[in-house]
């Protein structure tokens, strides 16, 4: 008798637990779903509007399910829309961004790898202090550097050119790339390096034969970090270049402030997407490495 009541109580308890569990699950997914909706809304809006035609956007608003389909906005955004008198679309600025970002990423990553190698495996007296000083560059606000850079770029005859921006981003990126690589190389056992040195391998030989072959994970992280960072940078782009020399971020601001009185949302959306696609592609293809860079860059 007492046993059956116990069982019944137990079953009731289990039912309550089970219901609570299911409610909890629904709550968690509803919460995540709600936020996912907010997070994806801008992406949806921008993709959808780049394929709608303008009259339909004006009639139904930006946030609406597409009821028209048009490919006209893309070529318009790429090569034809006008900002302050020139009608070349965003093509040129896209190339500018590419020709700035790729060399600056490669150079700063290579230098960072070598610096990190020295600072972790060839320490000398004072090298830790030097490393700490270099790291201050990570926190410097760009505004501090604007006037000195303007002067130096002027003196080097590099103002208003993509080459000037490459230089700026290489120097600015050094502290990050060095930090990433140094923290990764610290985990290579010193004995490995010592053994190679006893065997007569020198500085460069150890670097190319031992360190570099095990570097791909950190190099990918660094390249992704630098590429997205430099591609998305705006301040230096708008200060040190103008008009046809500007990177894509500066061109997008010019587009959105100058033309938005006429509200060509279709062309605007396509242009914005063109400017966002390279880092987005990298993110969706190399997400794991992107997140790793993020956590390392933030915490260390």
């Amino acid at each position: 008798m007492s046993e059956t009541t116990f069982d019944a109580a137990f079953a009731a308890q289990a039912r309550v637990e089970n219901r609570r569990y299911i409610l909890g699950r629904i709550g968690v997914y509803a919460f995540l779903g709600f936020f996912a909706f907010i997070y994806l809304l801008p992406l949806f809006v921008i993709v959808a509007n780049s394929f709608r035609n303008l009259p339909e956007i004006t009639q139904n608003g930006l946030i609406a399910l597409p009821r028209s389909f048009s490919l006209k906005a893309w070529p318009q955004a790429w090569a034809h829309y006008c900002v302050s008198g020139t009608c070349e679309g965003i093509r040129r600025n896209f190339y500018n961004s590419l020709s700035m970002t790729i060399p600056a990423t490669i150079v700063s990553t290579m230098l960072g790898a070598i610096n990190g190698y020295v600072l972790s495996k060839w320490r000398f007296r004072g090298s830790e202090t030097l490393f700490t000083c270099m790291m201050l560059g990570v926190f410097m606000p760009g505004q501090i550097a604007l006037l000195p850079w303007a002067y130096i770029l002027g003196a080097l005859n590099l103002s208003n050119s993509v080459y000037g921006l490459i230089l700026v981003h290489c120097v600015q990126g050094l502290s990050f790339t060095t930090l990433f690589c140094r923290n990764y190389y610290v985990s290579i056992p010193d004995d490995l390096i010592k053994a190679a040195r006893i065997d007569g391998a020198g500085f460069w030989r150890i670097f190319f034969k031992i360190v570099l072959p095990i570097s791909p994970p950190i190099l990918i992280v660094t390249v992704i970090w630098q590429f997205t960072g430099i591609w998305n940078e705006y301040l230096f782009g708008v200060v040190f270049t103008g008009g046809r020399q500007q990177p894509v971020t500066a061109a997008l601001v010019a587009l959105s402030t100058s033309q938005m009185n006429a509200h060509p949302y279709d062309v605007g959306s396509a242009a914005v997407l063109i400017g966002a696609i390279p880092p987005l592609l990298i993110y969706f293809l190399g997400g794991k490495y992107f997140v790793r860079g993020l956590t390392q860059g933030a915490i260390k």
Partner: protein
Amino acid sequence: MTNASLGAGGNAALARTPRWRQRLSDWTPRLVLAPSLIASFVYVFLFTFWTLYISLSNSTLLPTYAFVGIKHYYELWSNKRWEIAYGNLFFFSGIYVVLALAVGLALAIAIDQRVRFESFWRTIFLYPLAVSFVVTGVVWKWIYSPDAGIEFLMRSLGWTDFTFRLTTDRDAAIYAIIATGVWQSSGFAMALFLAGLRSVDPDLIKAAQIDGASRIRIYRKVILPSIAPIFIAVAVVLLQFAIKTFDLVVALTGGGPGISTTFPANYVYDLMFQRGEIAIGAAAAIMMLAALAVVLVPYALWTNWRSRREAASHV
């Protein structure tokens, strides 16, 4: 190449190497590091002192080097627009950091409940970080805009007197920047918190479960305290973002309506490159650096102290 042959070749090479080559190879690491070191030192120290000096000179459109002392700092701090700028910065930083932490933590805890398709959710919440502030700002500006965005949507759904005018309202525009900032960075907080939640010692949690602690209690008493350091680290990074806020404001509100959403970084840019007041601009840039130092120096000291204490307790 086998180890033996590498060793033999190496030793032979060592025997043949002249003294100066040996010397050179001793110095190789330092020589290799030198260019980067010089560049970084110029960037960090020389640039800072340069800007500091300009802020103390009487430069206007072009740099001159006549020393006038702290006159421009005085001018800056008595300037109405600067008052608005740092007022905005304080207001924005407070709400933005708290909200981004809260949303990030909530998302991390939700994802930590052994949900399905975890990487799918994570990918959604993190993608804003891959997108520039410029793109973020432009898109949200459209979404906030009364004649095509949310207000338009609600009205066309039948709610005809619905008003939602963040970016065109002097007092509300700052909330548009806060909301967009939170949208952009809470994924970052989520990623770091999630990593933290995963690194909590499972034995600790198990022990609490055996003691009959509820889920919520376990979170409050066991898990969250042990990720407190991550909490502080994320808050510091977010504060840094806040102090450097520039592109987002340019793209979203352009500092307007009027000058209501001016931030320090925007004002620096304005002074230096629109008004030709580079000395005051430099003073404002130095103030930004000071603000960063106020956040970062205590944090650096604290982490240093903690790692020392930990090292001591492990011995």
